[in-house]
Symmetry: C2
Subunit: 266 residues, 2 copies
């Protein structure tokens, strides 16, 4: 008979729960994934899973495809542990988790060359960050570089909103975004900053040599920082035709990436 952990104070559970905090994710180079969708995405994209925690109710009612995947992961020697509903809930901030939470190793994707890349300067809201990651993936950009003050991309809410896109392309964290921009400029990238000081059209004759272009999105409240803005080759803003003061940053990022992509494709 399999043992079910039902105490939140269990030492192993306490250690796993620590991964809800960024500092522990950094220390262990690992993070937690909550729910079937993210578990299946992680498996499909070759993310290294080290622990599976689930409730008996979850395993009873989940569909065969998911069950088979869990068995496959389990048989590869991964720690598999049944837990009570209460213990499972203690591993997430979500109110009604589905019943499966896994620990995985952080993803190291590299790319020697990319043509389009997004830089995020100081995106703090996890929902916005996750939605932007998902949108960058959809728009087919090759990579994201996050400035030092962005919310952690392994934050639970970021992962949920990104719906697996974290695993599809490289996302880098830099300690010095200015240095990064400088390096990219020297490599011949054209740097577009999005800013209220920008102009409202990309222009007929925006010349992007070899399609190598970087687009930078700034914080929800303050936009991109002035020092970053000063490094851009071109400043762009979306027109506001109605009476809204501004757009949500994830929405405007989506609009701008698709408009830019259309421009580059023509």
């Amino acid at each position: 008979m399999e043992e079910i952990i039902s105490s939140r104070q269990n030492i192993q559970i306490k250690k796993i729960r620590g991964l809800l905090q960024k500092k522990n994710r950094q220390k262990e180079d690992a993070f937690l994934l909550n729910g079937t969708k993210l578990f299946m995405e992680a498996f499909t994209w070759g993310v290294t899973i080290t622990h599976i925690f689930l409730t008996t109710h979850y395993i009873e009612q989940t569909d065969d495809k998911v069950k088979q995947t869990i068995e496959k992961v389990r048989s590869s020697g991964v720690l598999y542990q049944s837990v009570s509903e209460s213990v499972l809930k203690s591993l997430t901030s979500e109110q009604n988790p589905e019943g499966i939470i896994v620990r995985a190793k952080k993803v190291k994707l590299n790319k020697n060359f990319f043509s389009n890349c997004v830089i995020l300067d100081n995106i703090r809201d996890p929902g916005n960050m996750g939605t932007i990651i998902r949108t960058v993936d959809a728009a087919g950009f090759d990579a994201i570089i996050c400035s030092e003050c962005c919310v952690d991309i392994y934050n639970e809410k970021v992962l949920r909103a990104a719906m697996g896109s974290n695993f599809h392309f490289p996302i880098f964290q830099t300690q010095n975004v200015l240095q990064e921009i400088d390096k990219l400029k020297k490599q011949g990238y054209f740097i577009i900053g999005t800013s209220l000081d920008g102009i409202e059209t990309l222009g007929e004759n925006l010349s992007v040599p070899n399609q190598k272009v970087i687009i930078i999105f700034g914080s929800e409240s303050h936009g991109i920082s002035p020092v970053v803005e000063a490094q851009c080759d071109f400043l762009w803003k979306l027109p506001i035709w109605g009476n809204a003061e501004s757009l949500n940053v994830a929405v405007s990022a989506g609009i701008m990436m698709y408009l830019l992509k259309e421009k580059l494709n023509n």
Copy 2:
């Protein structure tokens, strides 16, 4: 000395709290607004405010412009009531409200003619709904028509995400979206449905007579309903260039409205 209500069981407070529920908002034709930004927007746009509830801490630390506006509203005979932090918190689902919550009458904006309008078919998530309202406003569309199953536009989370755009243009709720579409078609509107069955480009020769165009966005999980889809003149989808399965509905609505607007303006 002004009286401060400090009991959550106060009869007036209980009645106001009822407005957190849709059925009471419908009965009273009124709703609650939470926070400085929404209060100021409501005032600026001529929304009828009937009650102001605030904490003494809020009124002490708020800036002069807001104070003056509160005084202006108060002197027009609106009920003004100081409440304890605990009572104020009982009037919202927000964790840390700023300290001002007002009751207002629902807005009746009419427009005899509009050229571009958005139909929302079954948008359930309040955050998405609010972000779409804000984005429709930014993109300069003239109106929104919500199908019967959409989340209430006076839901607290919708109002928060919409950041005041609720008051800037007419938003209608219909009991029969098919009938509405039929009527609009007879009035000469071109109906674009967004759908995974659509094609990925608006096309060079999409002809929109007199710019009269309606665009329909469907639910987060199921898209627009098949009966609605069947009424459309054109089905459109965004290309996915990367590995994301889909886009967030508020993001894709933003991208499509801006792409459409660009098309109409050219």
